[in-house]
């Protein structure tokens, strides 16, 4: 028994025990069972079912069912663990060797060997349609060193790569399907090597996948298939679960918990994630070009109260971009900004805003966003800041803030986590990063520390580098993090074995259906 299957066996056993204590039924009834169709209410139509050409963070909930990744992560800590690559090793700082599991095939029968991995990595790195070229920027070349071994030559040391390969860049697509596909993408006819094979996709309506009978993980998956109904209105989606038309809904807003728990047929699971609500700041223009104003903003926010009022307590107050459960979390940074409106006023006065300051911020018009804005407006008012929000749909507001228009000095939005924290920091806090709205320079020691975090494979050294990164980001107050929103999943009581994960993008690895 490999390490992984033992872990899974333990997880399943504990789920089974929990089931027994809950229902008081006999063991035989509750043992993991094959069969049944898992019906899921999904909040968004995927942007594409080709991992390389898509872009939305909400795609993963579908992609993970059809594509396996070279590397996987631990549900609780996001530490990397073997996936399609049974093992990996940095033989020197510029060389990463991946050993591919033998005998794995794609859904169309094409063998998943070293050649297939090379084909995928090269496509992800250089194909015109690929949205993830930047993820593999450090990879200089990919060589097949044996039928089951791929060697990546790097232009610069990059120990973030294993976890990068647990995301889009590591999702393996059948090379024969890609070569045969029109336009060189499998956006509408995905062929991977995941637990489920693609059946159909009707835009904005339904995605159907069925069990991959030749899946390499033993006894997986358990359901015959999954049917995703795409229901953007989350209240409607939650109703479809309480009414029994669907079995499970994920990414529910916290306010739904109390409502959905009233239904006796439904149980709720929640857990911490990397998904952080935050105010992005444009520090290239007034007033946030002044570090004192940015710090004042951070002192003015009562995060504990925000979590209670805006998120029904289903969140962790955020003082930086990593939550407590993460392996690179640094406790000392968390104490930088206790709630202190007087300190905020003092900093504002020092910055020349003795009589207060008006902030023009952007936001989104949905019910949850507006509620968060109201709470923030009130908190900031106590520290002498008048916040004004201009609201627009996500696509419009975020383009206005991050792209060329540069409207507003801040944007109340969220950051969906990345498997490796170095991506989170380099995508937001480097000079030309898109999510650095002003494209303003950052202290050279911050860029150096981000680079340093990718230089060593040693977890302690990486942790140290990230401590420096987090401290510099928060001392400069380049962002105002608010709260890590918990994953909130509601499901029918017959759904067993679902576990939340820290990334906050659902995986259904051990799920099975009680009949």
């Amino acid at each position: 028994m490999t390490e992984m299957t033992r872990r899974e066996a333990i997880a399943l056993t504990s789920a089974a025990i929990a089931g027994v204590t809950l229902s008081g039924r006999a063991w035989a009834d509750i043992a993991p069972k094959r069969g049944g169709t898992l019906r899921i209410s999904a909040p968004a139509n995927p942007s594409s079912l080709d991992p390389a050409t898509g872009g939305a963070g909400s795609d993963h909930a579908f992609l993970f069912t059809m594509y396996d990744t070279l590397i996987e992560w631990d549900f609780e800590t996001l530490a990397p663990k073997p996936g399609l690559a049974g093992s990996w090793k940095f033989t020197d700082p510029n060389t990463l060797v991946l050993n591919i599991r033998s005998g794995v095939t794609f859904h169309d029968g094409t063998p998943l060997d070293a050649d297939a991995v090379k084909f995928n990595l090269e496509r992800n790195k250089s194909d015109q349609k690929s949205n993830i070229k930047a993820d593999l920027a450090s990879v200089a070349s990919v060589e097949v060193t044996s039928p089951t071994q791929v060697t990546l030559k790097l232009s610069t040391p990059d120990t973030a790569l294993p976890l990068i390969l647990s995301d889009r860049a590591g999702m393996m697509v059948s090379p024969s399907a890609l070569k045969a596909a029109e336009g060189g993408t499998v956006a509408r006819k995905p062929v991977g090597a995941g637990a489920y094979a693609f059946v159909s996709w009707a835009d904005g309506e339904r995605i159907v996948v069925k069990r991959n009978e030749k899946y390499w993980k033993p006894n997986r998956p358990l359901p015959d298939g999954i049917e995703f109904s795409i229901i953007p209105e989350l209240t409607t989606g939650a109703r479809s679960v309480t009414a029994g038309q669907n079995d499970l809904i994920y990414q529910l807003p916290p306010r739904q918990k109390a409502i959905i728990e009233r239904a006796s047929s439904v149980k709720v699971v929640s857990g911490p994630t990397l998904y952080v609500l935050q105010i992005f700041l444009n520090w290239a223009k007034p007033p946030f070009d002044n570090p004192k104003v940015r710090q004042a903003l951070n002192f003015a926010i009562d995060r504990e109260a925000f979590v209670k009022a805006a998120l029904a307590g289903l969140a962790e107050p955020a003082y930086m971009n990593l939550p407590k459960a993460h392996w690179a979390y640094d406790k000392s940074v968390a104490g930088l900004y206790p709630y202190d409106p007087d300190k905020a006023r003092k900093l504002l006065a020092e910055a020349g805003f003795k009589d207060g300051l008006t902030l023009d911020l952007l936001g989104y018009p949905d019910q949850d966003s507006v509620q968060r804005q109201e709470i923030l407006i009130e908190q900031l008012r106590k520290a002498g800041m008048t916040a004004r929000f201009a609201n627009a749909p996500i696509a419009e507001a975020s383009a206005a803030f991050f792209a060329s228009e540069k409207r507003g000095s801040g944007l109340l939005s969220a950051w969906t986590g990345r498997p490796d924290p170095s991506l989170t920091y380099s995508l937001m806090f480097t000079k030309d990063a898109y999510y650095n709205a002003g494209r303003a320079p950052v202290p050279p020691e911050l860029e150096a520390a981000i680079k340093e975090s990718r230089a060593s494979e040693d977890i302690e050294q990486r942790r140290k580098a990230f401590a420096t990164v987090q401290r510099l980001v928060m001392e400069n107050a380049f962002v105002a993090p608010l709260a890590f929103q918990y994953e909130l999943v509601a499901m029918n009581k017959k759904v067993q074995g679902y576990r939340p994960n820290l990334l906050g993008k659902p995986k259904y690895d051990d799920v099975w259906l009680e009949s």
């Binding site: 942007s47 872009g55 949205n131 209105e233 409607t236 383009a399």
Partner: protein, 318 residues
Amino acid sequence: MARRSPVKVVGSRLLQALPVIVLATFMVFALLKLVPGDIAVTLAGDNASDARITEIRHIYGLDRPFLVQYGVWLGNVIQGDLSQSLLTGEQVATSIGRAFPNTLLIVVIALILALLTGIPMGVIAAIKPNGWVDKAVSMIASLGVAIPGFWLAMILVAEISLRLNWLPATGAKSLTASPIEAIRHALLPGIAIAAYGMAEVARQLRGSLLEVLSSQYVRTLHAKGLSMSRILWQHGLKNVSVNLFTIISLLVNRMLAATVVIEAVFAIPGLGSLIVRGAIQRDFPIVQGVVFTMVIVVILVNLITDLLCAAIDPRIEQ
């Protein structure tokens, strides 16, 4: 005066519709381009960069002049190609082909319900104007006009689906695969839209029937000794049927518009949901395709109504 042949009439009406189609789609296209928001940013995804966004604009031709982009779209339509979604690559014709029956079924159900309830209400109200029946009818009709469809929809779901569990709360089923299930799914949204239609039919019918019943020839019919029911069914309703058809055609167009909100409440993948998704994501081929379809439907409904009215009442100039 010689009557023109129906073929000629239909032909000339369809010809007149062409500029309407071009104008409507052009205006929507212009609006989509005028409002802020850029699909290139969405297409670039969560790990966007400035360079990638520029590259995507070029790949999808979003950097070409506005008129050229519209021209390309129109050129494709003339060749029978509604092009494809920028975001997901699905053919727009496929999306519409799948969504349209769902919307149509709701509208048809709503229309039938509105007529089945609205016509009797209008008739009994007109027989004894200002009696208690008439007052009750006009109260119900006022409620029907005043109650927002989405609110009624949510109440219906809470009571009939969630509490009584009689009808499904969300979704749609294909009419060809399982007709009974399809109708069960479309019933609640149909009722939610029908409430307004019922009120409109009852009020309009009452008004025009009263006008007819107070006219001189009806007085003559009374004097001839004809019974009230014969006057009503043989003469009255025949004379208001032109009005009725006009109401129906207006209702169909209004109900189509109402599905945009109702489909969101019931998570029905119809034309309404499709155009909302397209508009929010700035996926303009989808929006253009739906607008194009809607314009054609409205033009056809109006054409059919005019032909029917002319068949009933030859005085109407074709």
